[in-house]
Symmetry: C2
Subunit: 172 residues, 2 copies
């Protein structure tokens, strides 16, 4: 699948088939994250891969909109230094670059994904065991879509702002 097509066709997928993700598919997704660019190439990220059903169910409670984690084949928790403590904007920007790589690489392989924002940081830390100087702002759910037509459904009309609403030419 070419890059442009992946970007245009990718949908959020929140409901997943029980089918597991093959190890080689998972490795390609992880490797896409690893290859992301980062500020001064600092690569300030660790990825925790979770496929234990009980743990996925618990992780679904770390945020108000994290319920989709319970049905994911795999979740990848994105762990970084704490951006507030580090007073760093670039940690979050870099993490977005890496997450988009993983979600696009997954889509090309027929795997859907959706990010979940962590609201309950103490709970996430307890469940995932990362050290005190690290922080987890998001987890990504991955899995084959429960409804395979998710992969080919045309975009919802009006789902994105029109190009003229967001583009300024020359100057604001």
């Amino acid at each position: 699948m070419d890059v442009g097509a992946a970007i245009r066709t990718k949908r959020m997928v929140r409901t997943f088939a029980p089918r597991p993700i093959e190890p080689e598919v998972l490795e390609r997704i992880l490797d896409a994250g690893r290859h992301a660019p980062s500020s001064k190439n600092t690569q300030r990220w660790d990825f925790i891969v979770v496929d234990d059903r009980a743990l996925l169910g618990q992780l679904a409670t770390v945020g108000r909109y994290a319920g989709h984690l319970a049905g994911a084949a795999v979740a990848i928790a994105l762990v970084t230094p704490d951006p507030a403590r580090e007073r760093s904007h670039s940690i979050l920007w870099d993490l977005g670059l890496a997450a988009e790589n993983m979600m696009l690489a997954a889509w090309e392989l027929g795997v859907g994904s959706c990010p979940a924002t962590v609201y309950e940081h103490d709970l996430a830390r307890e469940l995932l065991g990362y050290p005190d100087d690290r922080w987890c702002g998001w987890l990504l759910s991955f899995g084959y879509p429960a409804d395979p037509s998710d992969l080919t459904r045309p975009p919802r009309k009006g789902g994105r702002k029109a190009i003229d609403e967001i583009i300024h030419r020359g100057r604001w």
Copy 2:
């Protein structure tokens, strides 16, 4: 170019050929950014497209490592609400998703790119004219590489951490 190949082969490009970017290529890059997912689909971004040589030269002074903007065919300034004022992590994460879409879409079309972090916010605001309630943390340089072998050169050895350094299975 398939997604996996784009992710694996993409390099930062900081030195650009004088060749302009064709309007249809630029529109595909912008459209890739527009299609990015965002937290609750808020799309809190505006993109300012700059191809004026004098202005590009001035923008090259907004940050310590922003010199590459002077030689870009086009710069895209990424403008959002101020993440500090909004106390929002997701503005920056979302912006990373959109930026990666644009840089990958460009790479597929033979166009190199590099982000520049803004350090001099007052100067960036003066040059680009965005309102007081907006903020520009990054600009992206785009252009055909001065050295076309940038597009095919194998990755530098050791440029990324090994997979085992960053992946944790099951739990940290």
